[in-house]
C-alpha cells in the first residue's frame, strides 16, 4: 500500500477515521519507506518496534472511540528532542549513547495526541549548520536531484535536514524541527515542503538540547500548510517548566486556515533584494506578490533598514549563548569521556574529541566575544542591533499584517559546496535570521522550481503570536502555486 506514504496527515486522519486502513498499516508503509531510503541517511536511530507498538495502541484507542487529534500519524523526531529511553545525540559524538530519562515537553504533547515515532532524525551537530553536513553521523542527502542529468547529491538544508529529507521523501508524514536562525524554513525551502517556526515562547524548549536559548524555537514540517498547522497546534502551549514559555491560548490553526486574505496587507521588505540573488528567486518573489494581489491582499513596500546586520548580529549572539549552553558537555555526568591525567585534561580531551569542527568554531567565537575586554564591543553591541532589528519589524507591522520574502537566497546546493568558507555557509540564512532575532513566526511554503527543477520556497513572516495570519497567507500561496513536483526518489518509485 505504498500510496499510503503519499497521503497528507489530514487525509490519513480521515482514512483512519473511515477505517480505510489502520495506523499499523500506515506505520508499516512508512517503516518500509524508511528502510528503503536508508541511503538518504535521514535517521540516526530508527525505532520501528516502538512505532508499531504505538500504532497498535493507536488503533485500539480509535476503536474505543477516544483517538487523539493526531492519533496514529507516523512522524520523524529531530534528534535534538530528548526522548525517554531512546538515544538522543544532537548529532554529536559527545552525546553518543546518551539515553534521556525524561521526555521533552513538545514530544510529550505529540504523544498525548497519539502520534507514532518512526525514529530520531539526523541534523547538523547541535543544530549548527545550514546543509546538514556537520553531523557526526554523516551527511543527510536530499531526495531531490537536479534535472540536468548531473547526479550530484544535494543537501537537504539545515539544521533540520533529516526532518526535511524524511518528509520530502515520503518516509514520514511530518516531522518536528527546531529553528534558531532558519533551521526549519531553509530546509523546507530546499526540499519542497512546508516548515513553520512559531513565535518565540509558543513551544516549550524544555527537553530540547539547547543551542542558543534566546533564539531556539521548535516547529513543524509538513507537506501541506494544513499538515503544518495540525502539527504546530499539537506541539504548542504553555509549559511552566520553561520560564520563556508564554501562558497563551493556542488557536486552532487548521480551523482558520482557509479564511481568505482579502483586505490583508502584505509588506514587501526592499532590503531583502540582495546582490547575487538568482533571477529566478527574484521572479518567484514577484510571482508571489501577484498571487497575493489575486487573493485580494494589498501590497505595500516596507523597509527593514537593519536587515544586512542581522547575520553578523546572529553570529555574535548565537555563538555566545552556545559557548555557555555547551559547557555542560564535560564528560562528568553523561556522554563521551576521554581519559585525561587530571580533571582539566579530561575536559579538554573530551570536548575536543566530542564536538565537531563547526561546533568547536562557534564555541570558540562565543567564548571570545564574551571574554573580558570584548564583551561590550561584540556582545552588547549585537544586543543593541538586535533591538533595532526588532524595532524595524514593529514599524513595518504598523503598515502591514505580514511580510512576504524568499526563504533562501538559493536552491539546494551540492554536498561539499560552500564548505570552503564558513561565512558562505552562514549566508544561507540571510532571509530567515532576522525573524529569529525578533522572535517572530515565520513559514516557508514551496512556490516553484528553479531552472534545475529544484524547489524554491517563499517565506511569510508574521506579527508576534499571529501564526494564524502566517498560515492563512501560506495557504493562499499554496493554492496559487499548486506545487506538485516530487523528489526523483518518488517519481522513480512511481515509474
Amino acid at each position: 500500500m505504498s500510496n499510503l506514504t503519499n497521503l497528507t496527515i489530514a487525509e490519513a486522519l480521515t482514512g483512519l477515521e473511515n477505517k480505510d486502513f489502520t495506523s499499523v498499516e500506515l506505520t508499516q508503509a512508512h517503516i518500509d519507506a524508511m528502510e528503503a531510503a536508508r541511503n538518504l541517511n535521514a535517521f540516526i536511530v530508527e525505532t520501528p518496534e516502538i512505532a508499531l507498538e504505538q500504532a497498535k495502541a493507536s488503533d485500539e484507542r480509535r476503536a474505543g472511540g477516544n483517538a487523539g487529534a493526531l492519533d496514529g500519524i507516523p512522524l520523524a523526531i529531530k534528534d535534538l528532542f530528548c526522548t525517554r529511553g531512546v538515544q538522543t545525540t544532537a548529532a554529536s559524538h559527545i552525546l553518543e549513547g546518551f539515553i534521556p530519562q525524561y521526555e521533552s515537553t513538545v514530544t510529550t504533547k505529540l504523544f498525548d495526541d497519539g502520534v507514532v515515532m518512526l525514529g530520531k532524525v539526523n541534523l547538523d551537530q547541535f543544530a549548527m549548520g545550514s546543509a546538514n553536513t556537520t553531523s557526526y553521523f554523516g551527511n543527510v542527502i536530499s531526495p531531490w536531484k537536479r534535472n540536468d542529468g548531473s547526479n550530484a547529491e544535494l543537501v537537504p538544508g539545515g539544521s533540520s535536514g533529516g526532518s526535511s529529507s524524511a518528509v520530502a521523501a515520503r518516509i514520514a508524514m511530518g516531522a518536528t524541527g527546531t529553528d534558531t536562525g532558519g533551521s526549519i524554513r531553509q530546509p523546507a525551502s530546499f526540499t519542497g515542503i512546508c516548515g513553520i517556526k512559531p513565535t518565540y515562547g509558543r513551544c516549550s524548549r524544555w527537553g530540547i538540547v539547547a543551542f542558543a536559548s534566546s533564539l531556539d524555537q521548535a516547529g513543524a514540517f509538513g507537506r501541506t500548510v494544513e499538515d503544518s498547522a495540525l502539527l504546530l497546534k499539537s506541539m504548542s502551549g504553555f509549559d511552566p517548566k520553561d520560564s520563556t514559555s508564554a501562558n497563551k491560548e493556542v488557536p486552532d490553526f487548521a480551523a482558520t486556515l482557509d479564511q481568505d486574505i482579502k483586505g490583508k496587507t502584505i509588506g514587501i521588505p526592499k532590503e531583502y533584494r540582495v546582490d547575487g540573488m538568482p533571477d529566478e528567486i527574484e521572479q518567484l518573489w514577484q510571482q508571489g506578490i501577484e498571487w497575493m494581489k489575486d487573493a485580494g491582499a494589498n501590497i505595500v513596500d516596507v523597509s527593514l533598514p537593519h536587515t544586512k546586520y542581522a547575520l553578523p548580529t546572529y553570529y555574535i549572539i548565537a555563538p555566545a549563548e552556545c559557548s555557555s549552553n555547551l559547557a555542560r558537555y564535560d564528560g562528568v555526568r553523561y556522554g563521551l569521556r576521554e581519559d585525561g591525567e587530571d580533571l582539566i585534561d579530561m575536559y579538554e580531551k573530551t570536548r575536543a574529541a566530542g564536538f565537531g569542527e563547526e561546533v568547536r568554531r562557534r564555541v570558540m567565537i562565543g567564548t571570545y566575544v564574551l571574554s573580558a575586554g570584548y564583551y561590550d564591543a561584540y556582545y552588547i553591541k549585537a544586543q543593541k542591533v538586535r533591538r533595532l532589528i526588532l524595532q524595524d519589524f514593529e514599524k513595518a507591522y504598523e503598515q502591514c499584517d505580514a511580510l512576504l520574502t524568499p526563504t533562501a537566497p538559493s536552491a539546494a546546493f551540492a554536498i561539499g559546496e560552500n564548505e570552503d568558507d564558513p561565512i558562505k555557509m552562514y549566508l544561507n540564512d540571510v532571509f530567515t535570521v532576522p525573524a529569529s532575532l525578533a522572535g517572530l513566526p515565520g513559514m516557508s511554503v514551496p512556490a516553484g522550481l528553479d531552472k534545475h527543477g529544484l524547489p524554491l520556497g517563499l517565506q511569510v513572516i508574521g506579527r508576534r503570536w499571529d501564526e494564524e495570519t502566517v498560515l492563512q497567507v501560506g495557504r493562499a500561496i499554496e493554492k496559487s502555486a499548486n506545487f506538485k513536483a516530487v523528489p526523483h526518489t518518488i517519481t522513480k518509485a512511481a515509474a
Binding site: 534566546s214 553578523p312 553570529y315 555526568r333 580533571l343 568554531r361 567565537i365 567564548t367 549585537a382
Partner: protein
C-alpha cells in the same frame, strides 16, 4: 586574532587544540570576527541592549519539593559512578 589568543580562548573553553588547528582557527576566527565587526557601522547610541524577545513577565515557582529522589536516573548515563557518586579524575588544586 593571533595564535596565542586562539590558544587562550581554547583554554577558557576547555578545548584541547593542536598547533595545526590553532593556525587554522587564527584565520577562520579572524575572518568571522572581521565580518561581524561591520556592526560598528550601526549607530547604537542610547539603544538598550535586547537580551530576550519573550515579551512576558518572569514567572516564579512555589517553594515546593516536586523533584529529586531519582539517584538512579541521575547516574544512569554517567561514564563512571560509584556508590551513588559521580566519579571523575582527581582535581589537582
Amino acid at each position: 586574532m593571533d595564535k596565542q589568543t586562539v590558544q587562550k580562548v581554547a583554554k577558557l573553553a576547555r578545548l584541547a587544540i593542536t598547533d595545526e588547528e590553532a593556525d587554522k582557527m587564527v584565520s577562520e576566527l579572524g575572518g568571522i570576527l572581521k565580518w561581524v565587526e561591520q556592526l560598528g557601522e550601526v549607530d547604537t547610541d542610547n539603544v538598550e541592549p535586547l537580551a530576550n524577545v519573550a515579551n512576558i513577565e518572569l514567572r516564579l515557582r512555589e517553594d515546593e519539593i516536586t523533584d529529586g529522589g531519582v539517584q538512579d536516573d541521575v547516574l544512569e548515563n554517567a561514564p563512571e559512578s560509584l556508590e551513588g557518586f559521580f566519579v571523575v579524575p582527581k582535581v589537582v588544586e
